[in-house]
Symmetry: C2
DNA sequence: GGGTGAAGAGAAAACGTTTTCCACCCCGGT
DNA sequence: ACCGGGGTGGAAAACGTTTTCTCTTCACCC
């Protein structure tokens, strides 16, 4: 059942059918109605491949994430998909699992399917792959790691804002030994978070010397806490590069019978949905996944709809902010920390 | 840059280029090499739409899940994708969010993109939508809810096995008042789980009267626990229709200062990755997401590769099994429960 | 040495649309 | 009455492949 079948039955040409279906205004309403009637009767669906072939636009956006399995991403994928269906787009999702091979195959698949644009939500990309895409003039959206080139839009994350809030919150609770569990050091976003931690600490005259590299997964958090506790003077608060890590440290704390927040304060990063449901509920730095997805999609759409390639590189910013829950409290007394003057150690924050 | 460009530069016909690229054995190795050289030099990628148009096969599988945001699914999506790239397939992911409208648009999108098959991992599907797909002879894979028709493969989940183990585990720990928090009652898989709970209880002579309908989300679990505790004689153990629900009840228990497992035992269902990292680690019924994804994908592939439509409807079974962690313990003494004879109430299971 | 067959490569048709170009009709203006 | 022009719809080209069909070449056998 193709467009010709419809044309035959509606006694018009295929051109008219095409026009009717695409709501071209010049077609006679009478005819259009006749066409739609047949279309509905037969349950005709246009063949997207043929459409794409001739129009040159596939109406597919690529979405490259580093790990769909990390709860940070499904939320993004969901809103991205919502926006896609609203705009009659399809999304081609690939998850690189931090594997350069996979990254390459992702890009290849995107190009083969002739995507109209790609949002890259992962740690950068090898230049040679990038060139493949740029060569084909595929609009690209990066978060943070995009190169400084025309036609590439970058979404800058303001990590410092939220992380500074977190550090100052901890300092206000009399913590002085504040540790940081970073993400893998080949991940640019992880590096940026760590840097934000360092400057936040330095700003208020605290040493940023308690840093261990995790892996943005739960076991990384568990191992890191173990290591911190082996120290002669362990931290009383730990800030994590993402929420998964924080969940790991809370889990290890439970095993070690360290009470949170009484004995240890922990703060996460991302504010995944689950953070509200951990035990105790996790204080964390929010980086809105919905917002991020919306900005990325809209940027892609803009890029596609403008016919002339954009000259000015557009920049968007997404800020981060601390959300208080119940995993942080006053620093416990003793252990080289400044003595609290009033209030119960470990009491819940108001 | 199209196939003709390659043909011209390699001084062969487009037919030969096509054959070379597709590794048709009859092409002279000499020529093939010449073609590949040009292909690599120019970075040529065949146009998938054109390919699909003429060959009639899109090399796309549809994957319909109910909620990508539920941690049960990303795992599935990931292995599905892995298998897809291995087999040179693409996947078209849609998340219905339990909305019939979305379901319809999902199906429409699948058909428009001419998918070679669809795996439906969600609560059934309206018959009329189903007919659209069947009419077009799209191979379909369902889990549990598929109609009994030729050409449709069903993956049956053996819920009873795991749930019976869970119930008997609880009974062995002297629990007699065992509650169940079900999923939404319009969800067939939720109904099946509840039924399995009932028969498991009846089998061992326990009443299955403590059942509340949740929503397979965390807040549903929280509300349900609250409701149970309003009872004059609350349950000492609760079995949940999925892990999210269990996480909700553990969270609410934390708020109410009910200790798990000392005061209350809880068991989940699914064994999502996170279950290992809850506090305490969650005893749950495992339903392997990887296994499920593998079976589904393989079934689709089989269906596509056989040219004759399958006459026998194929059935696959996936079983479930209890995995013990630390959210269950001996029933607390008193409160109308059978008195434990030895061992400390609430002691951890070995 | 001529006929037969196989192997390899090219020409061209086909896939299902969109879009360009052209023909037609009808209207109003001169 | 004739011409110009705007609006409408059809014929056909185009998109980039795969695949069928045909042609050439060459080896082999009688």
């Amino acid at each position: 059942m193709d467009i010709r079948e419809i044309a035959r039955r509606a006694k018009v040409s295929t051109a008219t059918v095409s026009r009717a279906i695409n709501h071209v205004p010049t077609v006679d309403p009478q005819l259009a109605k006749r066409v739609w009637k047949v279309v509905d009767e037969l349950g005709y669906y246009p063949n997207t491949q043929a459409r794409a072939l001739v129009s040159g636009r596939s109406r597919i956006f690529g979405l490259i994430v580093s790990e769909i399995t990390n709860p940070f991403f499904p939320e993004i994928v969901q809103t991205f998909e919502n926006l896609a269906v609203e705009n009659n787009y399809e999304i081609l999702l690939t998850s690189t699992v931090h594997d350069p091979k996979r990254m390459e195959s992702s890009v290849r698949r995107m190009i083969e399917r002739r995507v109209d644009g790609v949002a890259i939500l992962t740690f950068g990309m090898e230049d040679t792959l990038l060139d493949h895409l740029r060569f084909r003039k595929v609009p690209l959206v990066f978060v943070d790691v995009g190169p400084n080139a025309p036609g590439i839009v970058n979404i800058r994350i303001n990590y410092l804002n939220g992380i500074r809030q977190a550090v100052q919150h901890l300092a206000a609770l009399r913590h002085t030994r504040i540790a940081f569990i970073s993400g893998p050091s080949n991940l640019k976003s992880a590096i940026a978070r760590r840097a934000a931690f360092k400057t936040s600490m330095t700003e208020i005259g605290l040493p940023a010397d308690l840093i261990i590299e995790g892996n943005h997964q739960m076991d990384g958090g568990m191992k890191a806490l173990l290591e911190f506790n082996g120290l002669s003077n362990p931290p009383t608060a730990v800030l994590c590069s993402n929420d998964m890590t924080a969940i790991g440290v809370m889990r290890e704390a439970y095993d070690q019978d360290i009470k949170i927040p009484n004995d240890l304060s922990v703060i996460g990063f991302d504010d995944i949905r689950l953070a509200e449901f951990t035990i105790p509920p996790l204080t964390t730095v929010q980086m809105s996944q919905m917002e991020l997805a919306k900005i990325a999609f809209q940027a892609l759409l803009n890029e596609v709809q403008r016919e002339s390639p954009s000259l000015e590189r557009s920049e968007h910013e997404l800020t981060t902010t601390l959300v208080l829950r119940r995993s942080t409290g006053l620093a416990p007394p003793g252990r080289h920390t400044a003595k609290p003057r009033k209030g119960t150690a470990g009491s819940r924050i108001p």
